[in-house]
């Protein structure tokens, strides 16, 4: 072992018990979580989540408290039937009804995809053709023909070597000691 990797002054028994090695399943889970983190809109939690409107605060009517101009000024719809409809929609309930247009639009993407799959399975031609893949799934590209590159987590250059404990890549002994000192198994991005 190179001097940088050995903890001086710590007994070998302690070093062994401290050593937790992630198995393949754990590494895959970490990888999946990292990929999900890449798709996240925000890292932090909602900063206004703990806001509570005081009961003493005056309550204004629906129209004044809506964020944009009220529907009437923008709707421009003169017909009485439409006017009734918009009033009914406003009364039907607050944000939930508007956001999902009365619950018809799924709130999250996974549900949308499932619904699409179910719908296609019910089409008359589905059993005959045998494939129920949606156009969305068919458009998904496959894996690259080129081999993946791995980069050192510490400096960003090519990382041919892998940390035994957590599977992170590093490029040199100095990057490895930096990784061990501070980041091994502690980084949750």
């Amino acid at each position: 072992l190179q001097p940088a990797m050995v903890d001086a002054g710590v007994s070998s028994r302690l070093r062994e018990t401290r050593r937790l090695v992630l198995d393949e399943a754990a590494r895959q889970r970490r990888h999946r979580r990292a990929l999900e983190a890449l798709e996240a809109d925000n890292f932090q939690a909602d900063p206004h989540a703990d806001l509570r409107v005081s009961k003493l605060a005056p309550k204004f009517s629906d129209e004044a408290s809506s964020f944009g101009p009220s529907r009437d000024s923008l709707g421009g719809v003169a017909a009485s039937a439409d006017g009734k409809k918009s009033r009914k929609a406003k009364a039907a309930g607050g944000s939930g009804a508007v956001g999902t247009l009365g619950g018809r639009l799924r709130r999250n993407f996974a549900a949308l995809l499932e619904e699409e799959l179910a719908r296609r399975a019910q089409l008359p031609g589905a059993a005959a053709s045998g494939s129920t893949a949606t156009p969305y799934e068919l458009a998904q590209v496959g894996p690259s023909r080129l081999p993946p590159r791995h980069f050192c987590a510490v400096c960003g250059l090519l990382g041919p070597h892998t940390c035994v404990v957590c599977g992170t890549r590093f490029c040199s002994a100095s990057c490895y000691s930096t990784h061990q000192d501070t980041r091994c198994l502690k980084w949750t991005g």
Partner: protein, 446 residues
């Protein structure tokens, strides 16, 4: 229906590009209702963010999820904000609108869009068209090719994903769409992680890092050579002049905004005396310096950027760099091409149209051309075309369509009267794929 009172709304997951046909370029409005950390009394709808004094720690609420418009509560707020100047001029019932949708859409999403546009806003007519289609229209009209001869490949790199699609005679070739799930959002998150791991904790600062990505990142012509040059510099080996040049181009400082003197960060090139030292310092992780001491080195906070400047946009070409098991945009274009009839393929490669904000990186077109040229037979002509700002291409295509003298917009727009008869979704989709044999009469485009 004349094209005079037409609004073109390019409804994107990142930005809404909106403008009337009389304007020459769109307004870019951020498509989010944003919460600021220190301002608890209000939220910022769209570009109201300009009124916010402190842009650190912003929390975005996006109506789009994975590239599809699912949350109308938020989207209505942003659209109300965007449409206000136009509604003030003339009531919305007198406007007709061209609005964009993703290349492959789901019927509930399309129905919801139609319903809101016709029933909530009451537009006179709506043309719901894919952004890639509008970019293809832009290409056809800008180059002056007749519609019957036009063929192109469109690469639309947006916020949530990137699509490659083939268009022939103004219609999508069925089965030619390929989707790579890498877009501006993934690139910004990748940069945030790299900087947070190596230098300064910026995971909360999406807005600032997005600006950093736009300002400092570019696409390298040869990423492997850049890596090799930086590795040699890190090992303090002597560098030849080409490697020296690469390192100097890459290493820079990015001064973070402090909202007192400047609201947006900027790239600061390093002075020539300190360049050699900085090159080496960039390669070694400087987070030990900043993080453990907890003090900024100078008065202002700066980031040291090196290989991250090119490694971030590199994800568009090699998503496997971040562990995403997909092919990059150049390979996706080749994949689209391989599904087309072999004798027609050269027609498509002659026009590879770039659209979408993530194509704006400096050096993108050159790199795409290099990669495609290497994958195509050498007797195929190759032309990567971008008619102006990639982010505005779909909007400009919509504008060209609205202004075109042959009244092409009529084929796509559905009037409110027809909507009331048939209900959602409107049948604009049928006109956009090549007709198949079993369809009776389908409208032939001029």
């Amino acid at each position: 229906m004349s094209g005079k009172d037409t609004l073109i709304i390019d409804l994107g997951a990142g930005y809404v590009k909106i403008g009337s046909v009389s304007e020459s370029e769109p307004r870019q409005v951020i498509n989010s209702v944003t919460k600021a950390k220190h301002v608890k009394t209000r939220v910022f709808v769209g570009n109201e963010l300009d009124e916010c004094k402190d842009l650190s720690g912003l929390y975005y609420q996006l109506p789009f999820q994975k590239g599809y418009l699912l949350n109308w509560e938020l989207q209505k707020q942003v659209l109300d904000h965007c449409l206000k100047p136009y509604a003030d001029k003339r009531p919305l019932s007198e406007w007709q609108v061209i609005v964009t949708e993703p290349c492959i859409n789901f019927s509930p999403v399309a129905e919801a869009l139609d319903e809101v546009l016709f029933e909530e806003y009451g537009f006179k007519a709506v043309a719901r068209l894919p952004a890639a289609f509008l970019a293809a229209q832009r290409d056809q009209r800008q180059r002056g090719v007749s519609p019957a001869d036009h063929a192109c490949l469109v690469l639309d790199c947006g916020y949530s994903f990137s699509h490659a699609a083939a268009y022939r005679r103004g219609r999508l070739v069925p089965g030619s769409v390929r989707r790579v799930n890498v877009g501006g959002k993934v690139l910004t998150n990748y940069l945030k992680e790299a900087i947070s791991y190596r230098q300064l904790m910026v995971m909360d600062e999406t807005h600032v890092m997005n600006q950093c990505k736009e300002d400092a990142c570019f696409v390298s012509g040869n990423f492997d050579a850049d890596l090799a040059a930086m590795s040699r510099a890190a090992q303090r080996s002597p560098l030849d002049s080409e490697a020296q040049e690469r390192c100097q181009k890459l290493c820079c400082e990015y001064v973070l905004p402090d909202y007192a003197q400047h609201r947006r960060g900027f790239v600061r090139q390093l002075g020539s005396q300190k360049q050699q030292q900085q090159v080496v310092a960039c390669c070694f992780c400087s987070f030990l310096f900043v993080w453990e001491r907890g003090l900024p080195i100078h008065q202002e906070q700066t980031l040291r950027l090196g290989i991250e400047r090119v490694a971030t946009p590199e994800l568009l070409f090699r998503p496997s760099d971040a562990g995403i098991p997909e092919m990059g945009v150049a390979e996706a274009l080749c994949d689209t091409l391989s599904g087309l009839p072999p004798h027609e393929q050269p027609l498509y490669t002659d026009a590879v149209v770039l659209a979408g904000g993530s194509c704006r990186f400096a050096g993108f077109a050159n790199r795409l051309e290099t990669e495609l040229r290497a994958s195509l037979p050498d007797d195929f002509p190759l032309g990567v075309r971008c008619h102006g700002d990639p982010a505005a291409q779909a909007w400009l295509g919509g504008r060209d369509l609205a202004l075109s003298p042959d009244g092409a917009l009529e084929c796509y727009a559905v009037s409110r009267k027809d909507y009331r008869i048939t209900g959602p979704p409107c049948a604009t989709k049928d006109l956009l794929s090549l007709p198949d044999a079993c369809r009776g009469k389908s409208a032939e485009l001029p």
